[in-house]
């Protein structure tokens, strides 16, 4: 009589857990150097980040946020990058085939913080927003690195259309 009860609770418990991770968020390890210095500042300790699924449920993302997305080149791989431009923005690219790119409708432009050591929109172009899976909201491990991830964009990477507006206001 013990075994059926165990299986019954498993049958109910697994879907509840999976649904929680799928809608609220989960913790994932960051691999690679592409987001240095924000994530994985040294190669010894790897950061674990909380990926907030709830925040992107309507695909509302803003510039400067760190997001995780399915790689367009390999659907089995997840990549973590910083969102530089949303649809309609004009981006000055770093080594893409065109110097200026207007981000098309429903797309975004993502880049790693570690310029030159990252595979990002500068190599595969604008990314469909449907590939965005979560927003990285904080580092949870190791404890010494515990912090919220700030939404920030270096002034050199602000989209061209915003820069112009910024100067006009001044």
């Amino acid at each position: 009589m013990r075994l059926p009860i165990f299986f019954k609770s498993l049958l109910v418990g697994v879907p509840i857990g999976v649904t929680f991770f799928d809608t609220v968020g989960y913790v994932a390890r960051v691999d690679g150097v592409s987001m240095q210095p924000s994530l994985n500042p040294d190669t010894v300790n790897q950061d674990y980040v909380f990926l907030n699924r709830w925040a992107v449920r309507f695909y509302q993302v803003s510039r400067g946020e760190i997001i995780s997305l399915t790689s367009p080149k390999d659907p089995g791989q997840m990549i973590i990058k910083r969102l530089v431009g949303i649809e309609g923005d004009v981006i000055q690219t770093l080594g893409y085939k065109k110097e200026y790119v207007k981000v098309p409708q429903g797309h975004c432009w993502v880049e790693g913080d570690h310029t030159g050591h990252t595979l990002d929109s500068n190599s595969f172009g604008p990314i469909a927003l449907g590939l965005v899976t979560a927003k990285a909201s904080c580092i949870v491990w190791p404890p010494s690195r515990w912090q919220r991830l700030k939404s920030e964009l270096p002034s050199s990477r602000i989209p061209v259309n915003l820069k112009r507006k910024f100067f006009e206001e001044k």
């Binding site: 109910v12 697994v14 879907p15 509840i16 999976v18 649904t19 929680f20 799928d22 809608t23 309507f58 695909y59 997305l69 399915t70 790689s71 367009p72 080149k73 390999d74 659907p75 089995g76 098309p104 409708q105 429903g106 797309h107 990314i127 469909a128 927003l129 449907g130 590939l131 965005v132």
Partner: protein
């Protein structure tokens, strides 16, 4: 008068049941299969507008999509919308459209086209679609009842 304790216990049980079955439903629709209402003319005559189809989500997760499958994907131009198209070409295949355009589908992408070539917004407009956007594969039509049946994997092999 009903004691407060009984009401709160009953409420607790009801809420627990709703959460339990809600989660099971979410997992079923997300990971196993789902019913979808197709709206629009792009897949005529295979799927008429307002037909209900059954989709399964296991094949795309295992990345076993084949040429000729009908798939449901997130629209590349609007992530809140879904599109229903047929897979015409897989990575490495050469596709051509219009009169002069020809391209090789890059790794990780697929080429999707509607069966109704004259009235379909598809890869001919927005280019190859990343495989990560594919949500499910259409298995069979369930509504209207007269047309119930599995979809044929129509391998399009025209030497364009």
């Amino acid at each position: 008068m009903i004691p407060f304790k009984t009401i709160s216990t009953k409420l607790f049980v009801v809420v627990g049941c709703v959460i339990k079955y809600g989660c099971i439903a979410h997992c079923t629709f997300e990971f196993i299969g789902n019913f979808t209402v197709c709206i629009g003319p792009s897949m005529e005559p295979t799927i008429q507008s307002k037909n209900v189809i059954l989709t399964e989500n296991i094949t795309p997760r295992l990345r076993r999509i084949r040429k000729g499958d009908i798939v449901i994907a997130r629209s590349p131009s609007n992530p809140r919308e879904k599109i229903c198209k047929r897979v015409i070409a897989l990575p490495g295949d050469r596709v051509s459209w219009g009169l002069f355009y020809s391209d090789v589908v890059p790794r990780g992408y697929v080429w999707l086209e509607g069966d109704n070539k004259n009235n379909s917004t598809d890869s001919r407009n927005y280019g190859p679609v990343p495989q990560g956007l594919i949500l499910g594969r259409a298995v069979c039509k369930v509504w209207p009842f007269q047309e119930i049946g599995l979809f044929a994997n129509k391998v399009i092999d025209d030497p364009r």
